[in-house]
């Protein structure tokens, strides 16, 4: 079997036993990366860096006689979403305004990965500043999903914003990738690409060195092809960081061990309000199938109510743009990034930001500026934060009677590139099932659970209590086992 088909757990085992070297594993993925350039998954490939890191790991290991303690991810190649600042490697956030920006610092999350021995394959594509659900807003071109609808050759979106991450992992270019999730940006692309994507509790991973979109929502997470693999990755990524005031100082448990826990006796909540109008029958059917799998595994299904769910998207589209309008003010052409000259300072600012930002980013900055502006602040921003409080309260009430919440991840399978791009609201609706947990800061995971009629993957989402990623992983592993999802993208099968 090709090395690129190994899971992270398998790779680490083979690296540890000396069956394979990191150089071999890394080289195989670099080759896959070259072969799949048509997907446009990477903004920057770092093959030399990857091989240097891999060879260093191998040299150290052989010097130690192939014995001793290995770091948790030693020798494992990974793809990094280009929202994480990487020291000495261009970091763009998918935006023209940051093209050529080379940070003098390493984000805490990626530093944690390197500390644990991981190897960087490159920086993966994303929606500009992580704003999007299709990866079509990237200034470096859209990413194509490795999947194709049966009998239809149109390129499909990988989802977004972490579209490059999901596509790379699904296409076996990387065994795992980092992502960030603000309203669904890990879970939705994981579902579209038939892989696993986990977003931990807000505050679990440091945001330091991650280019900010919406500070109160942004959270790093992991993509891989199995639940166990995402647990391994998250174990390295997570942890308290005194440089992030919203990072929470609680110990990181053994997530990997949690994937082996039984779900017997767990109460799985089914929110009745998530049965939205016009939900495709096959999504609904898959959801009911999910309930059955849990019942079969000895869990109990309980109906719960999240009455303010229907307002989550509108709330999100006030809070996130408001924060983004302020977070993106620093891109002014003064200290880094693009500068478009103007006859005076104001013209320079306006020209720089008009040319540097893409349409969706500008749209959100303008919405955010509007909802914070004098006379509208109370009606929009304060109102939204009140509704957000109600949404968070809905969840804490619901978790009195259940341990996990099961929902579909997205209301549809992947759509074609260019579809929905002229209708912002239709695009926003993609995140209808993922946004509520983001607003409440809760951990969520998407597990590939089936295929739609066109042979495209569909995901189911589990949402857990704050800082209870362990139960989320236990439930996800049970779901994974029952679903036995084995479909691979055509690009692989071919």
């Amino acid at each position: 079997m090709s090395l690129t088909h190994l899971t992270i757990a398998e790779s680490l085992k083979k690296l540890g036993s000396g069956e394979i070297t990191s150089a071999e594993l890394t080289e195989a993925h670099l080759k896959a990366m070259e072969g799949a350039r048509a997907l446009n998954a990477f903004i920057v490939e770092t093959p030399e860096l990857a091989m240097d890191q891999a060879k260093a790991v191998d040299a150290k290991w052989s010097k130690a006689g192939g014995k001793g303690e290995r770091k948790p991810l030693e020798g494992l190649p990974l793809a990094i979403k280009d929202l994480f600042c990487t020291k000495g490697v261009q970091t763009t956030a998918g935006s023209k305004i940051l093209e050529g920006f080379i940070p003098h610092y390493e984000s805490t999350v990626t530093a944690n990965l390197w500390r644990d021995g991981a190897v960087m394959l490159g920086k993966v594509n994303l929606d500009e500043f992580a704003m999007g659900s299709s990866n079509m807003t990237s200034a470096f071109g859209p990413v194509e999903s490795p999947w194709k609808r049966r009998g239809d050759n149109r390129p499909l979106v990988p989802g977004g914003s972490s579209g490059g991450s999901a596509a790379a992992v699904a296409a076996r270019i990387a065994p795992g990738a980092t992502g960030t999730d603000t309203g669904g940006s890990i879970r939705q692309p994981a579902a579209f690409c038939g892989i696993v994507g986990v977003k931990p509790t807000y505050g679990r991973c440091s945001r330091w060195g991650v280019v900010a979109f919406a500070s109160s929502l942004d959270q790093a997470g992991a993509f891989a092809r199995t639940v166990e693999d995402t647990a391994i990755m998250l174990g390295s990524m997570a942890g308290y960081d005194p440089q992030d005031s919203t990072s929470v100082d609680v110990p990181v448990p053994d997530y990997r061990a949690a994937t082996g826990r039984s779900v017997k006796g767990l109460r799985i909540g089914i929110p009745k309000e998530y049965r939205v109008d016009g939900m495709p029958g096959e999504i609904d059917a898959l959801w009911r199938q999910g309930e059955q799998w849990f019942r079969d595994a000895g869990a109990e299904i309980v109906e719960i109510s999240l009455p303010h769910t229907q307002y989550a998207l509108a709330t999100y589209y006030i809070v996130a743009p408001a924060e983004c309008s302020s977070n993106l003010a620093r891109y002014d052409g003064v200290r880094y990034g693009l500068r478009v000259p103007g006859k005076d300072l104001t013209e320079q600012y306006e020209a720089t930001r008009a040319e540097g930002f893409g349409a969706e980013v500008k749209r959100r900055i303008l919405i955010g500026t509007y909802v914070l502006s004098a006379g509208y602040f109370d009606a929009y921003y304060i109102k939204a934060q009140k509704v957000r409080a109600l949404i968070a309260r809905d969840f804490s009430d619901a978790f009195k009677s259940c341990d996990l919440i099961l929902t579909p991840t997205a209301p549809s399978a992947a759509f074609a590139l260019g579809e929905k791009s002229d209708d912002p609201i239709a695009m926003y609706l993609n995140d209808v099932f993922t946004v509520p947990a983001s607003l409440a800061g809760l951990p969520g995971i998407s597990v590939p659970a089936g295929l739609d009629a066109g042979g495209l993957p569909l995901g189911l989402q589990l949402i857990g209590r704050p800082f209870d990623e362990e139960t989320v992983f236990a439930g996800a592993a049970a779901l994974e086992k029952a679903a036995a999802f084995s479909a691979v993208p055509q690009i692989i099968a071919a």
Binding site: G203, Y317, L345, K386
Partner: protein
């Protein structure tokens, strides 16, 4: 339409984003559409509800007053599109 071209011009100015006249008209209808959709929030009863400040239940931590500076001026200026004599530079501002 909740936003007209003038309103778009005002917020674009606040956000320091140049918009052409065509864009203003287009954005006015597009943003109005989004804002009209968002307006559904007004129907939620939030009487007596405190706006959420953070989903993090923890208290704000503070750091000790210790000098830690691990970048040089060269690092700070390295990505600047323009600079002179150790300064960042911009077109002259008239006060």
């Amino acid at each position: 339409m909740s936003l007209d071209a003038a309103a778009v011009a005002r917020i674009a100015r606040l956000a320091r984003i140049r918009v052409t006249d065509d864009e203003k008209t287009h954005l006015a209808s597009e943003l109005s559409q989004v804002m009209d959709w968002i307006d559904q929030l007004q129907s939620v009863d939030t009487d007596g509800v405190e706006p959420l400040t953070s989903v993090v239940g923890a208290r704000l931590k503070t750091r000790a007053d210790v000098v830690i500076l691990n970048v040089t001026r060269d690092d700070v200026l390295a990505n600047a599109p323009e600079g002179m004599a150790g300064f960042f530079t911009v077109p002259k501002v008239v006060e």
